[in-house]
Symmetry: C2
Subunit: 236 residues, 2 copies
Amino acid sequence: MNPEAASVVTIPRATFASIVTERLRASIVDGSLKPGSQLSEVELATSFGVSRGPVREALQRLVQEGLLQSEAHRGVFVPVLTDEDVRDVYVAREALESAAIRSIIAGERTVAASESLDRFVTLMEQAEAAEDWEAVGNFDLEFHVALVDASASDRLKRMFSTVISETRLCLGVLTADDARDDLVQEHRLICAAMKEGETEKALAVLKKHFDDAVATLSNRSRTDAAAVDGRGGPHE
Amino acid sequence: MNPEAASVVTIPRATFASIVTERLRASIVDGSLKPGSQLSEVELATSFGVSRGPVREALQRLVQEGLLQSEAHRGVFVPVLTDEDVRDVYVAREALESAAIRSIIAGERTVAASESLDRFVTLMEQAEAAEDWEAVGNFDLEFHVALVDASASDRLKRMFSTVISETRLCLGVLTADDARDDLVQEHRLICAAMKEGETEKALAVLKKHFDDAVATLSNRSRTDAAAVDGRGGPHE
DNA sequence: CAACCGAAAGTTGTTGACAACATACCAACG
DNA sequence: CGTTGGTATGTTGTCAACAACTTTCGGTTG
């Protein structure tokens, strides 16, 4: 029915639903879709040029991932993460990543794991030297994904993929202020401890790593709130 | 179209999709739907008396939960859990429940937690005395759900709800053979250790608890395989 | 003027039909 | 006899229209 679209049909190697899912997820984590805003199915459908079916499917997937909240018969919304949510995300991450570390060491996969992990730390160092904070943040996350991947536990991986998305959600956009000089070093320490088989040491560093992150984030949210604090200004 | 269903319409307090989801989940975990079998959308739709939409939605949710596997353009199947899957489920459970215990003790919610936990242990003891092994199994699972609930972490709870479903899936139907005489006692020990604030002790008991469960299950799967052997066809 | 009732608008929930894809089967050909 | 090609079938993927629900806004009533 759409003449110009006929040439662009491109064999649906991936389904529309999965395409919409990915694009929506990207928009959510990069902040294009602001927390608290409602997502209309028809609106999204028209904007993506598809019907409501695939959009509905995509929304549902993201709800399951925790990247959207659904209220029956009312709509789906981009969640607003409170400080407690941020803490909770890192509680979940610690649970998953600690288990991954234990599993890696117990399964004697430390060498294979270190190989992949070291690569990301190196990339982080280079990005840090170039003061490309966005890249630093991305490699940081990729490091942790690689860590859980190395655990060879499908369920740990599955759960972690959703939590890491939520992490991106509460990270929003990184600024230079969020950079901590010991951040890259901590990753090296985790690798080193794992290589030595010092499980407790690695877990301790990981915990500190997360505590610092939570502190940074809640501190930022406080200053953000103060900065916006219109006190009667922007009422719509 | 379904005459007898017409009287049961009942205000759609819950949506069809959620109803189908629950009923399908129940059928999967209780073994009505045998591992390896394919689920046809149209077949399910007619059997539930609804259209393919809600069914499709329910299937997708269960896929996300790990209770079903989907192959693009081919269909959804009830997963067959290997011994490695069983081990993995318990790796995931240990990760989540360990974090829950740590969180409870760190947050000083041990008294509130013990209250609810003790109740389920008592129920387990009664069921054990009555030799009602199915009830023992159910209270066992409810104990662990209550444990994670007490952590007050939404994400831990969310992740655990899917893993506990998978546990039900690999438990299948419990028999007296699966009963271990120290099973109930271990739950008491966990409670006790938590009350004393002995984190490491509680975690150690939990780990042993799971190791025993895995051993029992893989042992059973071995004998089952020997018993069935024929691979006789459910050929419709 | 306040409180209540009812219609209207906009949303999600559901439906049945159509299209695309993957597979299995069967015939024709080398 | 093995292989290849086309077709038939059953599946999922997508669509547009319809129905039900929730909220909002306006009028009516006390």
